[in-house]
Every structure is written in structure tokens, then in C-alpha cells.
Amino acid sequence: MGQPHEDPRGALVRPYAVTRGRTEPLRDIAIEAVLLTTPTGVQESRFAGHDKQRIAAVCDGRPQSLAEIAAYTRLPLGVARVLVADMVADGLLALHGAALSDVYEERMELLERVLSGLRRL
């Protein structure tokens, strides 16, 4: 993780070339949504192409947000989102962390938990 220039293609590749030109993800993935590589992803991501393999490595055994995946792989956010959405659809990544609840009690409980977490810092 964190090898900045491990991809020798570097900036020579136009951002959306790695998604074969697709700019719309299969499903919306929030920037803070957390992803974890599934056992299938550990086994099979190497057949999914270089970039997806790197993403699977980043999220193997430690949950990472879409933002972190983009940062560690040096992919632009929109490109990472398309690839991650593909990988969720293919069962290579598991999506954790649902969107914010609209239910008052659940939302309040989440805020309480965040507040105690911050106080413990």
C-alpha cells in the first residue's frame, strides 16, 4: 500500500481508459462508503485486471473507503468509483456502511457514538 508510482503507465493513461471509457458506475458508491475484499475477491481479483487487483489488495483484511482506495491506487475518484461498483457487482468487494439513516432515533444514536468517540481522542 502506498507505493506512489508502482504503476509504470502513470499519467500516460487517460483517466477513464482503465474503465474502457465508462464514466457511470453500475451503482452509486458514496465517497465514505467502506469496502472490504471478499474471499472471492482474494481468490479471483487477479483475473479482473491490474487496477481491480490493486483495489482488492488495498481492501484485503482492512476496510477502506472509496476515498482511500482512490488515494492509495492513485486513480481519480470517478474512475475508482466505476471499478469499485463493478467489483461489488461481481462479488469481489463487500460494501459496508449504509447511508445515513433517516430515522431520528438511529441518527441520534450514531451522533452519540461519534461524540463519545471524539471525546475519547
Binding site: 465517497i31 473507503s65 482511500e68 488515494a71 481519480p76 445515513l100 433517516d102 441520534m108 461524540l115 481522542l121
Partner: protein, 173 residues
């Protein structure tokens, strides 16, 4: 600010700004330049196995609004960090959060050498509504940033409770 409390070295994500997301920096006036890349810093605080707090920092200029639109979707709240040397830069972000009903506060960044202002003067100069907290902060200091974040969450809770008590059936966010 993010770096002062994050458990990881702040990371940078790049987003490609297309013409649709552009404010005053209109790329259509630059021949052959349809997109610009902007960077956004963020950090992380793992609170529990099932709870991670992400902190995103973006610049305040209006041309970055497309990033803010992305960020406020799942956000608990926002802090507008005001540089006392460029106080009027805060107008745009303040309008943005006010208009979208996102709980936010204003943190006046006070560090050595920066001009000092009276909080009431700043509130008046920026027309900050009375219900919006205004706090002093040193964005480099962990305890100070921690205090700002705690105040953001407390404010979010207060706003949520007030909305709930008004009996509004409309979902939040």
C-alpha cells in the same frame, strides 16, 4: 486541520472536474481544456469496528462546490475554517451550508501572527446567524481541532433534536 486528528497521514484524492461542475473558472474559455483535476485531503478516525469517521477538507472557493455536493450527502456536519487574513472568503461556503440545511459552524483559525478579531465583530461582519456556533481554533493543534469536531457533532445533535421536536415528518438529509 484534518492532519491534526487523523490516525493516518492525510491522503489526497483527485477528482476530475468537468465543465458541468465548474463555477467561475470556466474551462470552455480555455481551448482544448474540458476538465481540471482538483485534489481533496482527508483523514480517518476509527472509533469502533463498525464506526469510522472520515474527515474531508476542501478549499472554500465556489468552483469547488461540485466536491461539496459530493461530500455533504453522507456528512454529519461541517466546519467552515476562516482565515482571519481573508475573512470574506467565508461568504460563499457559509451561504452554501446555510442554503442546504447542513449543520455547520464557523471556526476562526487563530495562529501566531494572524490578526485577532473579536468574535462578535466577526459574527457581524460575516452575518453569521445566531444559531450557528462560532469558535476559535488553531487548526494545527490536536486538542483545538478535537474541540471543533465535538462542537460540530453537538450542534448537529441540537439541530436534529430541534427539527424532531418541531414534529417535521420530512426526513433529514
Amino acid at each position: 486541520m484534518v492532519g491534526a486528528v487523523s490516525e493516518i497521514e492525510p491522503l489526497t484524492t483527485e477528482a476530475v472536474m468537468t465543465a458541468a461542475g465548474v463555477g467561475i473558472d470556466d474551462p470552455s474559455k480555455v481551448p482544448g481544456k474540458g476538465t481540471t483535476t482538483v485534489a481533496m485531503d482527508f483523514g480517518r478516525i476509527t472509533m469502533a469496528e463498525d464506526l469510522i469517521l472520515y474527515l474531508f477538507g476542501t478549499p472554500g472557493q465556489t468552483r469547488f462546490w461540485f466536491m461539496w455536493d459530493e461530500l455533504i450527502r453522507g456528512a454529519l456536519g461541517a466546519a467552515v475554517l476562516v482565515d482571519t487574513r481573508r475573512i470574506t472568503d467565508a461568504f460563499a461556503p457559509l451561504d452554501y451550508f446555510e442554503n442546504r440545511g447542513m449543520p455547520y459552524l464557523v471556526a476562526l483559525n487563530c495562529f501566531d501572527g494572524a490578526p485577532r478579531y473579536d468574535l462578535d465583530e466577526v459574527r457581524e461582519a460575516l452575518a453569521i446567524p445566531q444559531h450557528v456556533p462560532l469558535v476559535l481554533c488553531d487548526a494545527r493543534q490536536r486538542d483545538s481541532v478535537k474541540h471543533v469536531l465535538i462542537t460540530v457533532v453537538e450542534h448537529s445533535m441540537m439541530m436534529l433534536r430541534a427539527e424532531h421536536n418541531r414534529g417535521e415528518a420530512a426526513p433529514v438529509g
